[in-house]
C-alpha cells in the first residue's frame, strides 16, 4: 500500500483533483454547479457505504435510502422541534440509525434474492411510515421545514459555498475511513465472505458478525448523509428517499464499480448530473437511460465498469479506440487507485500484501 502511494500518477493526480474540487464553488470556475456538487458529495457518502456492503461483502441492499431517511428525519425533528444543537441531533440520528440497522441485521441471515426483497420491503416500510405520519412527527407528505443550519462556534454554514466544503470535507473523511477499512483485516475478511461464506467460516471468520458490522457502518454513512441533507436543504420530506431512490443508489455503486471506494465519486457524479442537470424535467427518460446503463454494465461487464475497461484494454483495446488514447484514459482513471496490474506484480515479487 505504502509503495503504491508513491506511484507517480497518484502523486500527480491527487493534488490536481483536490485543487480542482476545491475550486468548483468559485463563481469564475463552476460556480453555478455548487449545489450539484454538494448533492454529489452527499450521494457519494451513501454510495461508499453501499460499495462496502455490496461490492466487498457480496450482499445486496435495495433499502439503503431508508437509512438516509431515518437520519434526515431524526436530524430534522430533533433540531427544529426539540431545538437541539444540529451536531448533537446528527449524532443522535446516527446512533439511532445504527441501532435500527443492528436490529434489522437479523435479515442478513437471508441471501441473494431474498435479502434483496427483504431490504426492498424495509425501505418501503420506512418510507410509508414517514408518509402516514400517525404520531405527528414527520409532517406527512409535506415534511418538515424550519431546520437550522449547521454551525461551528459562531461560523454558520448558511451559504451554498460553505456547505459545499463542509459536505466534501466529511465525504473525504468517510472515503479515507472506508479505504482503511478495506485495507485492514476487516476488509480482507469481508472479501473472504464475498468469495465463499463457507470457506470464510472455516477460516475462523464469524461471517454473520462481519456482515452485521458492515451493514451498520453503511447505514451510519447513509444516516450522516441524510442529516447533512436536512441541514443543507432545510427541508425533510418522504420525497427525498422513495423506494426507487435506493435503486438509483445501486446504480451509482454499479457505475463506479461495486468493489471500488473511489469509484463511488464517479458513480454518484454520473447519476446526479444526469438527474439534476441533463434530464431534469424528464423523470421517465431518466429511468430508461439509467436502467439501460445498469443492465448493460451487468450483462457485459459483471465485474464492474472500470475493471472491465482495464481488462478489455489488456485483451484487445476496446471500442476501436486506438490503444494509445485508451491507455491514457485508463491511466488517468486508475492513477487514483494505482495501476492494478503493477500492484499485483509488485506484491508478487515482494512480501505478501499484509
Amino acid at each position: 500500500m505504502s509503495r503504491n502511494m508513491l506511484s507517480r500518477w497518484r502523486l500527480l493526480l491527487i493534488p490536481v483533483l483536490i485543487i480542482l474540487m476545491c475550486l468548483v464553488p468559485f463563481d469564475w470556475f463552476l460556480g453555478q454547479y455548487k449545489y450539484l456538487g454538494t448533492v454529489i458529495g452527499l450521494s457519494t457518502i451513501v454510495t461508499v457505504g453501499l460499495c462496502l456492503f455490496m461490492g466487498y461483502t457480496g450482499q445486496v441492499s435495495l433499502g439503503q435510502a431508508a437509512f438516509y431517511g431515518i437520519g434526515m428525519y431524526f436530524s430534522a425533528v430533533l433540531s427544529s422541534k426539540q431545538g437541539l444543537d444540529p451536531w448533537l441531533a446528527m449524532l443522535i440520528a446516527a446512533s439511532v440509525t445504527a441501532a435500527v440497522a443492528f436490529l434489522l441485521g437479523i435479515i442478513l441471515r437471508l441471501k441473494g434474492n431474498y435479502l434483496a426483497m427483504a431490504t426492498l420491503a424495509v425501505g418501503f416500510i420506512v418510507w410509508k411510515i414517514a408518509v402516514i405520519d400517525d404520531m405527528g412527527y414527520t409532517g406527512g407528505p409535506d415534511g418538515i421545514r424550519e431546520i437550522p443550519y449547521l454551525a461551528i462556534g459562531g461560523f454558520e454554514f448558511d451559504s451554498q459555498f460553505r456547505r459545499y466544503y463542509l459536505v466534501w470535507g466529511i465525504c473525504l473523511a468517510i472515503l479515507l475511513i472506508s479505504q482503511s477499512i478495506v485495507n485492514s483485516r476487516i476488509g480482507r475478511a469481508l472479501r473472504a465472505v464475498h468469495g465463499s461464506e463457507e470457506a470464510a467460516e472455516s477460516l475462523g471468520i464469524d461471517v454473520f458478525r462481519f456482515k452485521l458490522k458492515i451493514f451498520v457502518v453503511s447505514a451510519v454513512y447513509a444516516s450522516i448523509a441524510g442529516s447533512l441533507f436536512a441541514h443543507h436543504q432545510l427541508h425533510a420530506s418522504p420525497g427525498y428517499f422513495e423506494p426507487i431512490d435506493s435503486v438509483y443508489l445501486v446504480i451509482m455503486a454499479v457505475i463506479g464499480g461495486l468493489a471500488s471506494i473511489w469509484g463511488a465519486i464517479f458513480g454518484a457524479g454520473a447519476v446526479e448530473i444526469l438527474r439534476n442537470e441533463i434530464l431534469i424535467h424528464y423523470d421517465q427518460w431518466n429511468m430508461v437511460i439509467l436502467g439501460l446503463i445498469l443492465m448493460l454494465i451487468l450483462i457485459f461487464m459483471p465485474e464492474g465498469l472500470f475493471v472491465a475497461l482495464k481488462m478489455g484494454y489488456q485483451r484487445d483495446g476496446v471500442l476501436f479506440i486506438p490503444k494509445r488514447i485508451w491507455r491514457l484514459v485508463i491511466r488517468l482513471y486508475s492513477g487514483i487507485r494505482g495501476f492494478q496490474q503493477r500492484k499485483t506484480a509488485k506484491s508478487f515479487h515482494g512480501e505478501p500484501d499484509r
Binding site: 437471508l110 427483504a118 454499479v254 459483471p302
Partner: protein, 354 residues
C-alpha cells in the same frame, strides 16, 4: 364491522386476491425453472394494462413506440439467428421463437394507425396484450439474462431491476403519468350477491384467475412441454441429460410468466386503472403472495394471493390501532420480512443446492 360490511370487504379481498395470485404465479414459474426472482414481474402487469388501453384508444399515437418495438423485434430476430448458427434446436422451439416476435407485429400495425379508425372489440383488446407482453418477457430473457456472461445472483437481481426501470420508463414516456382506464366489459356496473354489491369486472378478474390457473395446471401436467418445464424445475441437470434444453425452458418460463402478468393487467385495468408507476407495488404484492405459498408451487401462490388479498381488505375494515387503511400497505411488507426470516434456513439450503 357489520355483517354487510364484512361481505363487502371480502369482495374487495377476492378482487385483490385474484390479482396478487396471478402475479405470484408468474414469480413462481420463473423462479422454479431458473432460480431467478424477476423484479420486473410487476411491470409486466402494468404493461398488460397499458397495452389494452392503447388498443382500445388507438387514436393519436406517437410514432416513437413503433421505432422501439421495431428495434426490439429486430433484436429478437438477431438473437434468433445467433442461436440458429450456434446451436441445434428442435423444430417446435424454433417455431415458438419465431412466433413470439411475430406476436408483437400486431402492436406495430396498431401503432402505425392502420386500425385507428376501426373499432377494436374489448375482448380482442384484452387478449392481444397477453401475446404482446409474453413477447416482451421472451425478449427480455433473450436480450438480458441470456446474454449475460456467467452472471452471479447479484448480477441477475440487478439486471432484472434495470429491466423493470427501463420498462417503467418507456411506459412513462409513451403513456404519460396519467391514470388510464379501459371500458368495462359489461354494460351493467354492479350486481348483488348476498348482501354485497359486486362490481361486474370483479367477476371477470376472478374468472381470468381461475381459467389461467386451470389452463396452466393442465399445461404443466398434460403436455410434453409442460412436463419438461416441470422436470427442469425439479432437477435442471437431470432434465438436461434427458435431452431437455434448460435454456429454452427458461425462455418459455419467462414468456409464460409475462403473458400471465399481461393477462391480469389487461383484465384489471377497467376496474382499478393503471399508471406507469403501478407496477412496482403490484410486483411486491405478487412476491408476498409467492412467499406465502412457498415460492415454488403455483397452487401455493394462488392460495397466498387470496390470503393476502382478503387479509389486506380486512385490515382496512378492522380500523383499530395500527390496523387501518393507512397501514394497509405496510403490514404485507412486515409479513413478507417475517416469512422470509422464518424460512431463512430452508431458503439458504435451497439457494446452496440450486
Amino acid at each position: 364491522m357489520t355483517w354487510e360490511q364484512f361481505q363487502q370487504y371480502i369482495v374487495i379481498g377476492i378482487q385483490d386476491g385474484s390479482i396478487y395470485a396471478l402475479i405470484g404465479l408468474g414469480f413462481t414459474i420463473i423462479y422454479a425453472v431458473t432460480n431467478i426472482i424477476n423484479f420486473a414481474q410487476g411491470e409486466f402487469v402494468m404493461l398488460g394494462g397499458m397495452c389494452s388501453y392503447m388498443l382500445v384508444d388507438s387514436v393519436d399515437v406517437p410514432t416513437l413506440p413503433t421505432v422501439v418495438i421495431a428495434l426490439l423485434c429486430a433484436a429478437a430476430i438477431g438473437a434468433l439467428i445467433h442461436l440458429l448458427r450456434n446451436r441445434r434446436i428442435n423444430r417446435f422451439i424454433l417455431g415458438l421463437m419465431i412466433v413470439l416476435p411475430l406476436a408483437s407485429i400486431p402492436l406495430v400495425l396498431f401503432l402505425y394507425g392502420e386500425f385507428a379508425s376501426v373499432e377494436i372489440p374489448v375482448g380482442l383488446a384484452s387478449f392481444l396484450p397477453v401475446l404482446m407482453v409474453g413477447a416482451v418477457g421472451a425478449i427480455l430473457y433473450l436480450l438480458s439474462i441470456r446474454t449475460a456472461r456467467r452472471p452471479s445472483i447479484l448480477a441477475l437481481i440487478i439486471i432484472t431491476i434495470g429491466a423493470a426501470l427501463v420498462i417503467r420508463g418507456i411506459a412513462g414516456v409513451l403513456w404519460g403519468d396519467k391514470m388510464h382506464r379501459t371500458p368495462l366489459y359489461w354494460e351493467e356496473r354492479t350486481i348483488d350477491v348476498l348482501d354485497a354489491t359486486v362490481h361486474t369486472q370483479v367477476l371477470w378478474i376472478l374468472a381470468t384467475m381461475v381459467i389461467v390457473a386451470i389452463l396452466l395446471q393442465l399445461f404443466l401436467s398434460r403436455t410434453m412441454l409442460g412436463k419438461s418445464l416441470k422436470a427442469c424445475a425439479i432437477n435442471p441437470v437431470g432434465a438436461g441429460l434427458m435431452g431437455i434444453n434448460p435454456k429454452i425452458m427458461a425462455l418459455i418460463a419467462f414468456a409464460l410468466a409475462a403473458a400471465v402478468g399481461g393477462a391480469i393487467g389487461a383484465v384489471m385495468t377497467p376496474k382499478v386503472g393503471m399508471t406507469y408507476e403501478s407496477g412496482f407495488l403490484y410486483g411486491l404484492y405478487g412476491f408476498v403472495a409467492a412467499s406465502l405459498g412457498g415460492f415454488r408451487s403455483p397452487i401455493g401462490a394462488v392460495f397466498g394471493g387470496f390470503v393476502l388479498g382478503i387479509g389486506r381488505a380486512l385490515i382496512i375494515g378492522v380500523d383499530w390501532w395500527l390496523f387501518n387503511s393507512d397501514y394497509k400497505d405496510v403490514w404485507p411488507m412486515v409479513i413478507l420480512v417475517v416469512i422470509l426470516l422464518l424460512r431463512s434456513n430452508i431458503l439458504a439450503e435451497e439457494e446452496r443446492l440450486g
